[in-house]
């Protein structure tokens, strides 16, 4: 399928339809990104959001509390 416009790029990209796309589709995506700075910005922002969400998830775990919780869990579950 030919990627005709920015809306299709953004919609299909955020639905995750390019994750396992064919090499030809990936080539079309790359070509569109080369030509369109708005789509490049959109994509970069999406990648930033994912990276920051991963970082935030790691920050929410406190190592000492996690270790303590694991010990308690093993005790409770092993009864």
């Amino acid at each position: 399928m030919i990627l005709t416009n920015c809306k299709e790029m953004a919609a299909r990209g955020t639905r995750g339809e390019f994750d396992d796309a064919s090499w030809f589709t990936r080539l079309l995506v790359r070509a569109h990104l080369l030509m369109c700075r708005h789509c490049r910005r959109f994509k970069a922002q999406m990648e930033l959001i994912s990276a920051e969400a991963r970082q935030r998830a790691d920050d929410l775990l406190e190592p000492a509390r996690l270790a303590d919780f694991k010990r308690k869990l093993v005790r409770r579950l092993g009864r």
Binding site: T4, N5, C6, K7, E8, A10, A11, T14, R15, G16, E17, D19, R37, H38, C39, R40, R41, F42, A44, Q45, M46, L48, I49, S50, E52, A53, R54, Q55, R56, A57, D58, D59, L60, L61, E62, R65, L66, F69, K70, L73, V74, R76, L77, G78
Partner: protein
């Protein structure tokens, strides 16, 4: 130790197998519960309930999914039961109309994305993203977390959340665009 052996040992009530399963999966489950907005105490309760349910159900575990997928399935069902009184997922989401308004009739950007571009993307986003995540409805948040934070594949996520592949794509579309729109408003407010 292969997972099948670990499951067999769990079925036999082996305490070492319990320790191992707790060691392997507690952090990711806890991260999943915290990522859904549960407090640390509630998140720990949910994870404990998840393991208790696993041990009760392990005799019926046939290995059609991985233990991790099975555990996440239990966790999200428990979280859903607890959060049942909260707003349910809507058939439509305002983000669908917001997304449409971004584009002209030929599908070109009519309101291009604002905020930092790829050369100036900064770490300040980490501070802002927490509020935006909390504003997502639970199903979108769960789909986004499983896909982007835990990097599970689509088949496993569909299994965990009990949704079709098409519904998962809708959830991801809405989650990602809601997050970006929310961040754009925050970036603009800072300028």
């Amino acid at each position: 130790m292969p997972e099948a052996t670990l499951v067999e040992n769990l079925k036999n009530g082996d305490k070492k197998a319990i320790s191992r399963i707790v060691e392997q999966h507690t952090a990711v489950l806890l991260r999943g519960a915290l990522g859904q907005g549960w407090s640390p105490n509630d998140a720990e309760d949910l994870v404990q309930e998840t393991f208790v349910t696993l041990l009760k159900a392990v005799q019926r575990f046939e290995g059609r999914s991985t233990v991790r997928t099975f555990l996440f399935g239990i966790l999200y069902r428990k979280a859903k039961e607890r959060g049942r009184k909260k707003a349910r997922e809507q058939a439509t989401d305002p983000i669908d109309a917001v997304f449409e308004r971004r584009f002209g009739f030929m599908g070109q950007w009519s309101a291009p994305p604002k905020g930092p571009d790829e050369e100036t993307l900064g770490r300040e986003t980490a501070v802002l993203i927490g509020d935006c995540m909390e504003a997502l409805v639970p199903a979108q948040r769960a789909a986004f977390h499983l896909k982007e934070v835990d990097r599970q594949d689509n088949a496993a996520i569909c299994n965990i959340l009990d949704v079709t592949a098409t519904h998962l794509r809708v959830l991801l579309f809405r989650a990602r665009n809601n997050l970006r729109e929310c961040l754009e408003r925050k970036w603009e407010a800072r300028e």
